[in-house]
């Protein structure tokens, strides 16, 4: 069985923090450049230009792309033939804490959600999965909360049609309106359970933005971009950059659907050890 030292994981997580916070994902950048090119609304174009300038300036100055450096979410995939020497969860959280401190990011984590108190740099949320092989894959998604606040879950009847689901997704985007930094990336989780659909809707944000999308995803994107919300909610044809759907088997009695919205500063980074 292959062994990995916990210290190596801490170091890798620190590097993910740096990469995700200072450098916008290349697929997101490409999508933003494309929306800038096709945008007709003058103000929307100016806003998209600022968004692109911001990404370039952040990378150059080693500044966070957005002051909301998120609630760090780590998707951990552990090979069944690998053993970690040390405390894996503690190693990940140490990497988050040290990384956020080192790179002057924001301490946005409240340890007691009811009584609040002084914000800290950690802990992160870890979603773990077991995979084949002897490697460990770590993906960091620092999720900003302006957009996280606009997430919605609906437990549909099993007899509900696609049309109702489509309406729910569009309504969620309209409810977010100008507030959550459009153009958005829309993650959708369909099936599973209430919590599992939520996790899927978040994982869907990790998928690379590309032209390879299902018919439903393409149709939804068109419909969302017809709402006219636009960048900063001030009008335009770019309300969303992509719609990504993940599905999973569910129960005969239900049909959970979760929608997770990401702002245009969709940040994530991965490493395989």
């Amino acid at each position: 069985m292959r062994k990995i030292e916990a210290a190596k994981i801490t170091k890798a997580v620190m590097e993910l923090v740096r990469k995700a916070s200072f450098f916008l994902r290349s697929d997101v950048l490409s999508a933003l450049r494309k929306s800038y090119m096709i945008e007709k609304n003058k103000r929307a174009k100016k806003i998209l230009k600022a968004v692109l300038d911001n990404a370039a300036y952040a990378a150059k100055q080693k500044l966070a792309i957005c002051q909301d450096t998120g609630l760090p979410i780590v998707f951990l995939e552990v090979g069944q033939d690998v053993a970690v020497h040390g405390d894996l969860k503690a190693a990940i959280n140490k990497g988050i804490k040290e990384g956020y401190k080192k790179y002057y990011l924001r301490n946005s984590i409240i340890s007691d959600p009811l009584h609040r108190g002084k914000p800290e740099f950690s802990p992160c949320i870890i979603h773990a999965d077991i995979i084949k092989g002897n490697k460990i894959k770590l993906t960091l998604l620092p999720k900003g909360f302006g957009c996280e606040n606009k997430s919605q879950l609906k437990m549909f009847k099993p007899t509900a049609g696609i049309e109702e689901i489509r309406e729910f997704i569009i309504k969620t985007v309209k409810d977010a309106g100008p507030d959550a930094c459009p153009p958005y990336v829309i993650g959708v989780g369909i099936g599973g359970t209430a919590d599992y659909s939520g996790t899927m809707s978040k994982k869907a944000l990790l998928r690379k933005i590309s032209p390879k999308n299902s018919k439903l995803e393409k149709d939804l994107l068109k419909q969302i971009n017809k709402t006219g919300i636009g960048p900063m909610g001030l009008g335009g044809i770019n309300t969303a950059l992509a719609v990504h759907i993940q599905a999973h088997p569910t129960h005969i009695a239900g049909l959970p659907v979760s929608v997770n919205i990401s702002c245009h500063a969709l940040r994530s980074a991965s490493v395989t050890l």
């Binding site: 103000r43 806003i47 600022a50 968004v51 300038d53 911001n54 990404a55 300036y57 952040a58 100055q61 080693k62 500044l63 966070a64 792309i65 957005c66 002051q67 909301d68 450096t69 401190k101 002057y104 990011l105 924001r106 301490n107 946005s108 609040r116 002084k118 914000p119 302006g146 606040n149 309106g177 100008p178 507030d179 959550a180 930094c181 900063m232 909610g233 001030l234 702002c263 245009h264 500063a265």
Partner: protein, 173 residues
């Protein structure tokens, strides 16, 4: 582009129209959720406030830590609607304008018109770029709140769009 300078006088405020783009120069204070809660609690308890609200401009912002050799870290706007419940009282106590992102409640719009104030939005999700406009930054209250502390910022040509004007006109319709 029109420049405005703090403190914003009544004539300037009255001249602004929803949709207009501006560059702001002068002093603004950061305050977000917890700072708003404390300010409103202090007002209700009849206690003195740690900042002068009269003619003040509040920026809904919680920056990152300040990197070495920089004035401030990334410092873009946060969602304004979370401050809606607190805003009318602050406006009644002299607050002149707010900077944030996104729409406001009807109550805030009415209070802005009543007290002759303004609500501005700035480039959302552009915290790195906006840091360029901040020339000085100093914690003036609630240091224990970390990134939610109240900072006094000196800004130069800080870009704004008038979202709600003193006549109640709104860019969000």
């Amino acid at each position: 582009m029109k420049k405005i300078i703090t403190p914003l006088d009544l004539d300037t405020i009255k001249s602004l129209k929803a949709g207009q783009e501006l560059l702001l120069n002068g002093t603004i204070y950061t305050a977000r959720d917890q700072a708003h809660k404390r300010l409103v609690e202090a007002i209700k308890a009849g206690k003195s406030l740690p900042i002068e609200l009269k003619n003040a401009v509040i920026y809904y912002c919680g920056p990152t830590q300040t990197p070495k050799n920089k004035v401030i870290g990334a410092c873009g706007p946060t969602t304004s609607s979370r401050m809606d419940d607190f805003t009318p009282l602050l406006l009644s106590k002299g607050l002149k304008a707010m900077i944030g992102k996104g729409a406001r409640s009807i109550e805030v719009r009415v209070a802005i018109k009543k007290h002759k104030g303004a609500y501005f939005v700035t480039y959302a999700g552009c915290g790195a770029l906006l840091a360029k406009c901040v020339k000085k930054s100093k914690v003036v209250a609630y240091n224990d709140l970390g990134p939610e502390a109240i900072l006094k910022l000196e800004v130069k040509d800080f870009p704004l769009i008038v979202a709600i004007d003193a006549n109640g006109g709104s860019i969000y319709g």
